[in-house]
């Protein structure tokens, strides 16, 4: 429960573990709609804020760029609402006021009016003015988002989209992970921004966590960037937004916003090579023998694959299969027996492992903290 945060301040903190109901599907998901909630306890009970920010309302921004987008969105929404009220009001008035009330024998035609230059001019000018204002505001906001003045020490994270998972790299710290992106919390008095460098290994993907920023595509042969500057800790959920194949729907994003101290601690943990546990040596042997290492990388072993997610600190992650299920023993067993069960159409094939092999690999993977 306690951890020494190891930062300059070196004070000790204690935070109660929060048990929260949240939305990971379990092995046999109930189809009873909202009832499909799973209890999850975080494996490492530290000061990490385990609030799941599952409802990503774009009108409830929690990051600097999302706030900029929110401001212009409100302006545009209000403008459109006013236009709607005026025009819909006039339409309703015209329909009620000029509805034909006479009987069918009332054949007299109303006055035939062909148009009026003055009136037509009058209702052409206001839309032009509105467009001019909106274009100017839009241009300014585009600059604010695309050419931000980020602090010089902004963190940089490389995110590479794969079918159907996210490779996450921290070049400054030589840390490689997958699907769960840790970023530091910003403070309005001392800004800490994080820049995402977005690339793709195969097809086009889209990165979207609405409360952090708008979406940006990950295009092969074309590097994009976006930035976040979150104001609240917690676990932000997001999705891939560009159809990338069968499991586009389960290419989920978790951005974990930590306090700067916790973030540093997490980086340190990720940098370390996991210790070789004698008890699970058999699992490691099986992992290599069954060519898992052809696709996956585990630091300090012969597994050097690059096609699948890096598993060096697999057990420290909250989910598996890019967010498709909670990272617990039951789900991991299912995954090792047949990944197509939890994530049909994903690129990891059924390796046809025997029960003993599954058990030993499972035990091994669960030690990779």
């Amino acid at each position: 429960m306690n951890w020494n945060c190891g930062s300059r301040h070196g004070h000790e903190r204690q935070t109660p573990v929060r048990f929260r109901r949240f939305s990971l599907i379990h092995r046999n998901p109930s189809t009873l709609g909202v009832a499909a909630l799973t209890l999850l306890t975080l494996a490492s009970a530290s000061a990490q804020d385990s609030t799941i920010r599952a409802i990503q309302n774009i009108f409830d921004p929690l990051s600097a760029p999302a706030e900029i987008l929110y401001r212009i969105s409100l302006l545009v929404l209000a403008t459109c609402a006013i236009i709607f009220l005026i025009v819909a009001g006039l339409l309703t008035y015209a329909i009620i006021r000029y509805r034909h009330k006479g009987g069918t024998d009332d054949l007299e035609e109303p006055p035939q009016v062909y148009g009026s230059a003055a009136i037509e001019l009058a209702w052409t000018v206001p839309p032009i003015l509105i467009v001019v204002v909106l274009v100017l505001v839009t241009a300014r906001t585009i600059g604010e988002i695309q050419k931000p003045k980020l602090p010089n020490d902004a963190e940089q994270v490389r995110i590479i989209g794969h079918r159907f998972w996210w490779e996450v790299r921290y070049p400054k710290y030589d840390v490689v992970t997958a699907n769960e992106i840790h970023v530091p919390l910003s403070d309005r008095s001392k800004r800490i921004a994080t820049e995402f460098v977005l690339e793709s290994a195969d097809v086009i993907h889209g990165f979207w966590v609405p409360q952090l920023n708008g979406k940006t595509m990950l295009v092969p042969n074309h590097t994009n960037t976006m930035w976040v500057e979150p104001y609240k800790t917690g676990i932000y959920l997001g999705n891939c937004t560009v159809l990338c194949g069968a499991q586009h729907a389960n290419m989920l994003i978790r951005v974990i916003v930590d306090t700067p101290e916790r973030y540093q601690q997490w980086l340190n943990e990720q940098k370390a090579t996991p210790s070789n546990d004698q008890a699970v040596e058999e699992g490691q042997r099986q992992f290599i023998a069954n060519s898992c290492g052809a696709c996956h990388d585990i630091g300090g072993t012969n597994a050097k694959g690059v096609f699948g997610p890096d598993l060096t600190h697999f057990a420290s992650r909250q989910t598996l299969g890019s967010g498709v299920a909670a990272n617990n023993e039951e789900n991991l067993r299912s995954w090792l027996q047949d990944p197509q069960e939890l994530k049909p159409g994903c690129l990891m094939p059924n390796m046809k492992l025997g029960d003993k092999q599954v058990q030993s690999i499972l035990a091994y993977l669960r030690t990779l903290k």
């Binding site: 189809t31 999302a66 839309p127 585009i142």
Partner: protein, 567 residues
């Protein structure tokens, strides 16, 4: 005759069209032969519309399956691959095999009648266009049986209707499903372009005496602008399809990023077609509304010159807005600003149109017949669609809303709430002309209210799901994201729409035999199609008419107060 069009029935009637050997009349075989051999613009128009309704039912059923899959989180009704095929085929069919044939059907049927011509300029080309469109659709749907592909590839195309490269390259789409998609669209596209040329030539060369461009009914004007867009902007799509076929079969490397191609190039090609396509569909809908609103308000259209100018302006500006579909690919700030600006400029002529329809209704005697009910619903729904369009045009707002359910809601507001409602209005308005019988009003009212309620239940909540971060094209979602209730309402609405559409189809079939006799001019309308019998004879008009104003039939009915005195 200036155009050398035969005048009498004898010259162009059955005498000029002797029965082919083996042709039968009055039997099923004869009827089928008639369908296959006909070059009559009215029959082809109805065949286009029939094709549209057929695929409307097919693609609508797909939508019902999609909605059922999404009614609860973690649903396992269909597999992910099947779901991807469903929305790909739903989208592609609704655009190319439902909306396009329907607007071509309406233009085919009505343009020659409204300009006082006997047929299209090139009747055989007209038949050719229809059959290409129809066979293109058949080719694509054949993929369900003919393109099994390799294991896991899915039988039908599953790359979404805009098929972003490089997902379509051989590495990521194994099997032949993508080839069926591109070849099907290629064939249909050729049919559309030839059809577009035909309608343009008909409008330019076959107007009756006195029908100057400035006196053409607005439906004809809007068909003209539409066909100009078809002829200009379908070819980029066909070019892209050819490039894709070259890439998949002959190793060309246009879009394949792993060989140095560009994924963004495809998007430019597709959206240069794709955005004008929206206007290709919606402009004829504007045309229908511009016919229906005046007749049922008992007033001429308000500000005809501005309506024409606005239509032409929409046509031109629509050519320069395509990249607003690409705001999230990482374009430069300058490009984004330009395309946001161009997009918002379109709001100006569109606003003029809505105000002019309002001006037409103002001071009139509005008769709330079925065509007018659909037209009024169109006005409100298109207003909302236009406003959400502005929101999406503001690039920073679009960065949030793009590729979310908000976009789904927006373009279904355009395509269902706008175009399909206008086609319903057109169906109730012109059905008496085509079949000589009225559509049943009671069934029509059920259809109207159920469809309108179903439409709003389906698509209004999707705006909110999008605002809460629900991306499009996901076959399932996890519980707890706040999307469940909106998806449930949406699915219920979809089924109400389905029932309403069924009522409409029944009405179409039953009224053809049992409807009240319509007479030549049931709505007391003013354009030339109402000057001939219902249904019109093969030769349309016994004597080709001569017009002096925009409302020739008004002039006939009101010789004491004719329109031409005011032009």
């Amino acid at each position: 005759m200036p155009n050398g069009i035969p005048i009498t029935a004898k010259e162009i009637g059955t005498e000029a069209n002797p029965a082919r050997p083996g042709e039968e009349h009055g039997t099923l075989t004869g009827w089928i032969q008639d369908l296959v051999f006909t070059v009559d613009h009215k029959k082809l128009g109805l065949m286009y519309l029939g094709m549209g309704w057929l695929f409307f039912v097919v693609a609508g059923t797909m939508a019902a399956i999609i909605r059922t899959q999404l009614i609860v989180p973690n649903n396992h009704l269909v597999s992910p691959q099947a779901f991807n095929s469903l929305f790909t085929m739903h989208g592609t069919s609704m655009i190319f095999f439902v909306a396009m044939p329907m607007i071509f059907g309406l233009a085919n049927y009505m343009v020659p009648l409204q300009i006082g011509a006997r047929d299209m300029a090139f009747p055989r080309l007209n038949a050719f266009s229809f059959w290409l469109t129809f066979f293109g659709a058949c080719l694509m749907f054949f993929s369900y049986v003919g393109a099994p592909g390799l294991y896991g590839a899915g039988a039908a195309p599953d790359v979404a209707w805009f098929a972003l490269a490089p997902l379509t390259s051989r590495a990521f789409s194994i099997g032949t499903s993508v080839d069926y998609w591109s070849l099907g669209l290629l064939v249909t596209g050729v049919g559309s372009v030839t059809g577009g040329i035909n309608i343009m030539v008909t409008i330019f060369c076959y107007r009756c005496k006195g029908m100057t461009l400035y006196r053409m009914p607005l439906f004809v004007w809007l068909s003209l602008v539409t066909m100009f867009l078809v002829v200009t902007f379908l070819p980029p799509l066909s070019a892209a399809q050819i490039m894709l076929v070259l890439e998949r079969f002959f190793g060309a490397k246009f879009f394949e990023t792993q060989a140095g191609g560009s994924a963004i190039l495809w998007q430019h090609f597709f959206w240069i077609f794709g955005h004008p396509e929206v206007y290709i569909l919606v402009l004829p809908a504007f045309g229908v509304i511009s016919e229906v609103v005046p007749v049922f308000s008992r007033k001429p259209i308000f500000g005809y010159p501005m309506m024409v100018a606005a239509s032409v302006m929409i046509g031109f500006v629509s050519a320069g807005v395509w990249a607003h579909h690409m705001f999230t690919i990482g374009m430069s700030s300058y490009s984004i600003t330009f395309f946001a600006f161009a997009t918002m400029v379109i709001a100006i002529p569109t606003g003029i149109k809505i105000f002019n329809w309002l001006g037409t209704m103002y001071g009139g005697k509005i008769r709330l017949e079925l065509p007018m009910l659909f037209a009024i619903a169109f006005l409100f729904q298109f207003l909302i669609a236009g406003l959400t369009g502005i929101m999406l045009g503001v690039a920073p707002f679009d960065w949030q809303l793009n590729d979310s359910y908000f976009v789904i809601a927006h373009f279904h507001y355009v395509i269902v709430g706008g175009i399909i409602f206008a086609i319903f209005a057109a169906s109730y308005y012109w059905y008496p002309k085509a079949f000589g019988r009225m559509l049943n009003k009671k069934l029509g009212l059920w259809h109207f209210w159920l469809f309108t309620i179903g439409f709003h239940l389906t698509f209004d909540p999707q705006h909110i799901a999008g605002i809460l971060g629900m991306p499009r094209r996901i076959y399932t979602y996890q519980a707890g994201r706040g999307w469940e209730i909106w998806n449930q309402i949406s699915t219920i609405g979809a089924f109400i729409q389905g029932i309403a559409a069924l009522i409409f189809v029944i009405n179409l079939i039953v009224s053809a035999r049992k409807g009240a006799i319509a007479g030549d001019d049931p709505w007391d309308a003013w354009t030339l199609e109402w000057a001939t019998s219902s249904p019109p004879p093969d030769y349309n008009f016994e004597q080709l008419p001569e017009v002096k104003s925009r409302r020739p039939v008004w002039d006939l009915k009101h010789p004491e107060d004719p329109d031409w005195k005011f032009e």
